[in-house]
C-alpha cells in the first residue's frame, strides 16, 4: 500500500534515521519495496520507479572505486586527502574516501570495504582496501 502524506512525513525523516543509525554504529542504505532497487542517499520516494514504499537495508559494505581524486591542500590546511566515488555491490554510489593507502594510490576498480570512523560529533562511512590496508 502506498503511504499517505501523514505516513510519509511521520517522524523521524530518512536523513535523521540514517544519521542516528550511523552514529549508533550501523551503516544502512535503502531498498525500494516496489522495484527492489537500492537507494542512496536516503529518500522518501524511489528515484527509479516513484514508489514511496521504501525499506531500510543492510549493505554488505563491499564496493568498488568508481572514480577517485586527490584534493590538494597545503599541510597547514590538513594536507592532501583522497575523495572517492564508491559503488557499493548493491549498485548505489556514494562519495567517501579510501584510507589505508596514500591518497594518490587509490585507483579506479579497487575493491574496498566500508568502515565507520568518528569525525567531529558524528560517525562517517569511509572505505579501506578489501582485505585490509596494503
Amino acid at each position: 500500500m502506498p503511504k499517505d502524506a501523514q505516513a510519509m512525513l511521520a517522524d523521524p525523516g530518512p536523513d535523521q534515521v540514517y544519521r542516528e543509525a550511523l552514529n549508533a554504529g550501523t551503516f544502512q542504505i535503502q531498498q525500494c519495496t516496489a522495484c527492489s532497487k537500492h537507494i542512496f542517499y536516503p529518500r522518501l520516494v524511489c528515484p527509479h520507479c516513484g514508489s514511496n514504499e521504501i525499506a531500510w537495508a543492510s549493505p554488505s559494505g563491499q564496493g568498488t572505486v568508481y572514480s577517485t581524486t586527490v584534493v590538494r591542500r597545503k599541510p597547514e590546511r590538513g594536507g592532501d586527502i583522497n575523495v572517492a566515488m564508491v559503488e557499493l555491490d548493491e549498485g548505489v554510489r556514494m562519495m567517501s574516501r579510501v584510507e589505508g593507502l596514500p591518497p594518490a594510490e587509490v585507483t579506479i576498480g579497487l575493491r574496498v570495504t566500508a568502515r565507520l570512523v568518528e569525525q567531529g560529533e558524528n560517525k562517517q562511512v569511509i572505505f579501506e582496501p578489501a582485505g585490509g590496508a596494503q
Partner: protein
C-alpha cells in the same frame, strides 16, 4: 514541418561588461551595465523591456532586484536557476513567451563580481550531508572525478586535456577582452599547481568579474535593429542530477540529450555548425561536450582535440573568445557562450572571426556536469 519556435525569435542586442577585474563595484553595477549596453547595442531603451530573465547566486529574487533597480515592470519574468547554463535556457523560455505574445522585448542578463568579492562571499546555505563531510574541493573535485573516469575508460590523457586549455589560450590571445592572454604550453598546464587530480589550476576556469546581456525580439521585428540578427533556431535542455554522486555515468552528460533536442528543433546536424561556444568550466568539459553533442564519437574527444581540430585554423573552432579557461568566468559562464556566438554571426570578431560563420552553437553547463542546455543560432541565410 519545422518546429514553431525555429527562427521565431532573434537576438538583436548583445554585450559584455566589466570582464576581468572590476573592483569597487557590486554585482548589480555589473548586471545593469551589461543590460544597458546590450539595449544600447540594439538601439533600445530600458523602458522598452517587457520581459526580464536572470538568475544569480547572490540575489535570490534576481529579476525583482534587477527590475526594481532599472525601473522595469515586466509582463513576463523568469529567474530559473539551473547553474551556469541558466541563461542559455532563458532563451528557450523567452522564445516561448515572445512567440505567444506574453512579451515583446526580452532582456536576459547576468553579472558577478566573484573575483573582486573573493573572501567576502558566504557559503551557500544548502544542506549537504552526503558529500561535504568528505571535504571535496567543489566544484573542481567533481569534474576531476569525471576526468579520471574518462581517462580510465577511454585512455584520455592529461596532455589531451591540456590541449583544450592551450587552444582556449590561443583564441584568447586574439581577444582584447580576454583576461589571460599570455602564452601557454601543454607543459605549462601539466606543471601548474595541482588542484584536484588530474586537474591543475590551468585545467580549471578562471575566477573573474564580469557580466553579459542579450536582447531578444520576434523575428518579424528583428531586421529593424542596427545589427544583423542572430536567429534562435533551436534550444534543447536536459538535466539528470544535481551532485556528482548522482551522475549516472561519468562518461556521458545530459548534453547527449540537450544537443539532439536543439538539433531536432533547428533541423540541423553537427556538420552544419561553423563555430562552437562550449561551457568549459574545466578542460574535461570541452572533450565531453564535443562527444555528447556529436562532433566526434564517444571516447574520441581526447584524440580529436589532440589532432588540432578546435584551435585557430581547426575544422571545428571552439571557444573563440578564449572560453571560461582564458577569457572570463564570473561564477556562471553560460551568457558568454551566447554573446560570443552572436558576435561571430555578426562578423564582429576581427582577428578571431570565423570566415562565413552562419550557424553557431552555444552550450551551457550547470552544477556538476548537471544541467545542460544547447542552443543553435543562425544568420538570416539559415532561416
Amino acid at each position: 514541418m519545422s518546429h514553431p519556435l525555429r527562427g521565431s525569435t532573434a537576438i538583436v542586442g548583445a554585450s559584455t561588461a566589466g570582464l576581468g577585474a572590476c573592483p569597487g563595484h557590486t554585482e548589480m553595477d555589473i548586471i545593469v551595465t551589461a543590460a544597458h549596453q546590450a539595449l544600447a547595442d540594439a538601439g533600445l531603451k530600458i523602458t522598452d523591456v517587457d520581459g526580464l530573465f536572470s538568475c544569480s547566486t547572490v540575489y535570490s529574487l534576481a529579476t525583482l532586484s534587477i527590475g526594481e533597480y532599472l525601473g522595469i515592470k515586466p509582463k513576463f519574468s523568469d529567474s530559473n536557476q539551473i547553474g551556469g547554463s541558466s541563461f542559455v535556457g532563458h532563451m528557450l523560455t523567452a522564445a516561448m513567451a515572445i512567440q505567444n505574445g506574453l512579451c515583446e522585448t526580452a532582456l536576459i542578463v547576468y553579472g558577478s563580481n566573484q573575483r573582486s568579492a573573493a573572501g567576502k562571499l558566504v557559503g551557500l546555505p544548502e544542506p549537504d550531508f552526503y558529500e561535504a563531510p568528505y571535504e571535496p574541493k567543489q566544484p573542481p573535485s567533481s569534474y576531476a572525478m569525471v576526468a579520471a573516469r574518462h581517462m580510465h575508460e577511454f585512455g584520455t590523457t592529461r596532455e589531451q586535456l591540456a590541449q583544450v586549455a592551450v587552444d582556449a589560450r590561443q583564441w584568447a590571445r586574439m581577444n582584447p577582452e580576454a583576461f589571460m592572454r599570455d602564452e601557454l604550453s601543454i607543459e605549462d598546464v601539466l606543471n601548474a599547481r595541482m588542484v584536484s587530480d588530474p586537474l591543475t589550476v590551468r585545467d580549471c576556469c578562471l575566477v573573474t568579474d564580469g557580466g553579459g546581456a542579450i536582447v531578444m525580439v520576434s523575428a518579424d521585428r528583428a531586421k529593424d535593429f542596427p545589427h544583423k540578427p542572430a536567429y534562435v533556431l533551436g534550444v534543447g535542455m536536459a538535466h539528470w542530477h544535481r551532485n556528482i554522486s548522482a551522475m549516472p555515468d561519468y562518461t556521458v552528460s545530459a548534453a547527449s540529450e540537450s544537443g539532439p533536442r536543439a538539433f531536432d528543433m533547428a533541423g540541423l546536424t553537427p556538420s552544419d555548425v561553423d563555430v562552437l561556444e562550449l561551457y568549459d568550466a574545466f578542460t574535461i568539459n570541452t572533450i565531453m561536450f564535443l562527444e555528447d553533442l556529436g562532433f566526434c564519437k564517444k571516447g574520441e574527444g581526447g584524440p580529436f582535440v589532440a589532432d588540432g581540430h578546435i584551435g585557430p585554423g581547426g575544422s571545428t573552432p571552439v571557444n573563440t573568445n578564449g572560453g571560461g579557461l582564458s577569457c572570463c568566468h564570473p561564477g556562471m559562464y553560460g551568457m558568454f557562450t551566447i554573446v560570443e556566438a552572436v558576435r561571430q554571426l555578426r562578423g564582429q570578431c576581427a582577428e578571431r572571426q570565423i570566415e562565413g560563420a552562419e550557424i553557431a552553437l552555444s552550450h551551457g553547463n550547470g552544477g556538476r556536469f548537471s544541467s545542460q542546455v544547447t542552443a543553435l543560432l543562425g544568420s538570416e541565410a539559415t532561416l
